[in-house]
């Protein structure tokens, strides 16, 4: 039972990261109809940026993390202005190739820094533990779960109660009608990319204490696709829930199934989900369109 709870907590923690990446993917996809294949690279960039500011420049961790998120968000907005907006209205293939190429450039750029290419890094509090009675939980897992809840609340407030959030939602529902209502659609696209990139960077910083910060940490974003599809590809809460579900199932599969089978679980689940519930798991309940 105890080991089950511990596996559950690590599953929820990693699931939060999947969920956040899936959230960023869905946010961008909904607002701009652009398929982003560089969320993993933005995540990696966020992790490295935070680490570099903290370790190399000696900034306090909180400030470094905040600066890294803002920096990556600005990068996302900048890329949207320069390149990504050209993919709007084109076939999906254009956006897929464009973002994949940009992601490759980011990965190459980080790899050209010798210190980044050779080592793996951990954040200082990664090894701390919290004991609740007989249960020993990693502090980092609690951090991740707490930060995700906080972020979800912030995002919900943003989308429900701010002008920009409402405008972004309107834009995702129907860009043409939103434009007629006076929503600056192009600026909303930039905002969506900034938010998406920033969220990916947050996921990278949250992932840093769970695994290491290294060049290939962005591959974790591949598991965000199943999470996004499980959530129906158009629902933000669905994406987050899908990610957490996936993280938990994957961790439990690691407990039960033989070595190595665990990594297959998300993709098998994705195939099954597409086969059995072609409209997404939440489709029946949400009547097609989630928020």
């Amino acid at each position: 039972m105890l080991s089950f709870l511990q596996v559950l907590s690590s599953g929820i923690a990693i699931g939060c990261v999947y969920g956040l990446v899936a959230l960023s993917f869905v946010l961008i996809y909904k607002a701009t109809e652009t398929v982003s294949f560089m969320q993993g690279d933005l995540l990696m960039l966020g992790g490295f940026a935070g680490l570099a500011l903290h370790l190399a420049l000696g900034w306090p961790l909180g400030l470094a993390a905040f600066a890294a998120v803002v920096g990556v968000a600005l990068l996302g907005a900048g890329l949207e202005r320069v390149a990504l907006r050209r993919a709007i209205g084109q076939p999906h293939l254009v956006a897929v190739l464009l973002t994949f190429g940009l992601g490759m450039m980011m990965r190459g750029g980080v790899a050209s820094v010798p210190a980044a290419a050779q080592d793996m890094y951990r954040l200082p509090f990664a090894a701390d533990v919290v004991t609740v009675g007989p249960l020993v939980l990693a502090a980092s897992h609690l951090w991740v779960a707490g930060a995700t809840v906080l972020l979800a609340v912030l995002l919900a407030t943003f989308f429900r109660h701010t002008r920009a959030g409402l405008a972004l939602r309107a834009c995702s529902e129907d860009a043409r009608v939103a434009a007629l209502m006076g929503v600056p659609v192009a600026r909303m696209h930039t905002l969506a990319w900034a938010l998406g990139a920033g969220l990916a960077a947050v996921a990278g910083l949250l992932l840093a204490p769970i695994t290491f910060v290294h060049l290939n940490m962005g591959f974790i974003a591949l598991k965000a696709f199943p999470a996004a599809v499980l959530g129906g590809l158009t629902s933000l809460p669905g994406a987050l829930a899908g990610g957490i579900f996936l993280g938990v199932v994957e961790s439990l599969a690691g407990l039960v199934l033989p070595e190595g089978a665990k990594d297959l679980v998300p993709y098998v689940l994705l195939m099954l989900a597409l086969l059995l519930f072609p409209q997404g798991l939440a489709a029946g309940r949400m009547d097609g369109r989630g928020r």
Partner: protein, 336 residues
């Protein structure tokens, strides 16, 4: 786009098509001759082998993406299936030319499986299911060590039959170019057929196609079966030419290379696969040349290659969102 309506003008059209084919073949022959003269016979023929093999793999993507209008994000998996099937069959004692169709059949099976979950859906879901399939295949190739030797890879003997082996670059180039030409002819015939017209109809408008009695699901499934068997065939040949295969050769980057190949060459024409293959094979060479020309140590870092390759993709997509070959031929619909 001519639909084969039987009329006198059809004969003129056929004649025109043949002249066009002849002209394209002549251009390629001249290109091959020039590169042999410039780069040396062995190197040029080796590269020609690669270009032809990539072109066959790309032909599969042209069918799926360009003709049927679906997204495929994991085409590398079909190439991997073909390569591993070929390697294992040849190791088991099957003659390579006989093993090739079997490898293609294994790829076709994979294609059918990959497209099965998305039978009722289109667009992005399709891409997601092929991506998941590719990741599953890659993981299985690594984990199923008793069959595939995992990450350590497999050694593949040279291509050949009845005592003759294709180990010289010239023979390899000849085999792959002949196979490519045969497949091009076959695909051209297929595109003229009912199935080819059905693919284009589904690509342009699924609902209109359905109204004309074309069931979208089975039509897409057939595109996947044909496209993945072509790529698997290329994988079988590739395994022989490289002589050693391991799972990471066929990863996500390879799948995207194939997508880029088709994007550059133009997905609407079969010949686009060949032009795209030429560019995709040439890019790493050009990057290597550029690296040697650049001063300083930073040019030696592994990152630069990634940056340049990514830069090429971004540049091509931004400058010519419709692909390099037919900039005028604007694709319609959001599915491709």
């Amino acid at each position: 786009m001519s639909v084969s309506i039987h009329s006198p003008s059809q004969y003129r059209e056929t004649a025109q098509r043949w002249t066009r084919c002849g002209r394209v073949l002549a251009v390629w022959a001249v290109l091959l001759g020039l590169s042999i003269a410039w780069l040396g016979a062995d190197f040029a023929l080796g590269q020609a082998t690669l270009v032809a093999t990539y072109a066959i793999a790309g032909l599969g993507v042209v069918i799926i993406v360009g003709q049927a209008g679906q997204i495929v994000l994991g085409q590398g998996a079909f190439v991997a299936l073909g390569a591993y099937a070929q390697a294992l069959l040849v190791q088991a004692g099957v003659a390579p030319p006989l093993a090739l169709p079997l490898a293609a059949a294994v790829g076709a099976l994979g294609g059918a499986l990959a497209s099965l979950p998305a039978g009722r859906l289109g667009g992005l879901y399709f891409g997601m299911s092929t991506l998941a399939f590719a990741l599953i295949v890659e993981e299985l190739l690594v984990r199923w060590e008793s069959l595939t030797h995992g990450a350590a890879g497999l050694v593949v003997p040279a291509f050949g039959f009845a005592g003759w082996t294709a180990d010289a670059p010239g023979a390899q180039a000849a085999v792959s170019i002949l196979v490519l030409l045969a497949l091009l002819a076959l695909c051209a015939r297929l595109l003229q057929s009912r199935l080819g017209r059905a693919w284009r109809a589904v690509r342009e408008d699924e609902m209109a196609a359905a109204a004309c009695g074309i069931a979208a699901g089975p039509t897409k499934l057939r595109a996947f079966v044909v496209g993945s068997s072509l790529s698997a065939l290329a994988g079988g040949l590739y395994a022989h030419w490289i002589g050693f295969i391991s799972p990471e050769q066929f990863g996500l980057v390879f799948s995207f290379e194939l997508l880029m190949l088709v994007f550059i060459g133009g997905a609407r024409q079969l010949s686009g696969a060949a032009w795209g293959a030429l560019v995709v094979v040439a890019i790493p060479q050009a990057i290597a040349v550029l690296r040697d020309a650049l001063p300083g140590d930073w040019a030696r870092s592994a990152g630069l290659e990634l940056v340049l390759f990514g830069g090429v993709i971004v540049g091509v997509v931004l400058l010519r969102p419709q692909g390099l070959a037919r900039a005028a031929d604007r694709p319609s619909g959001g599915a491709a």
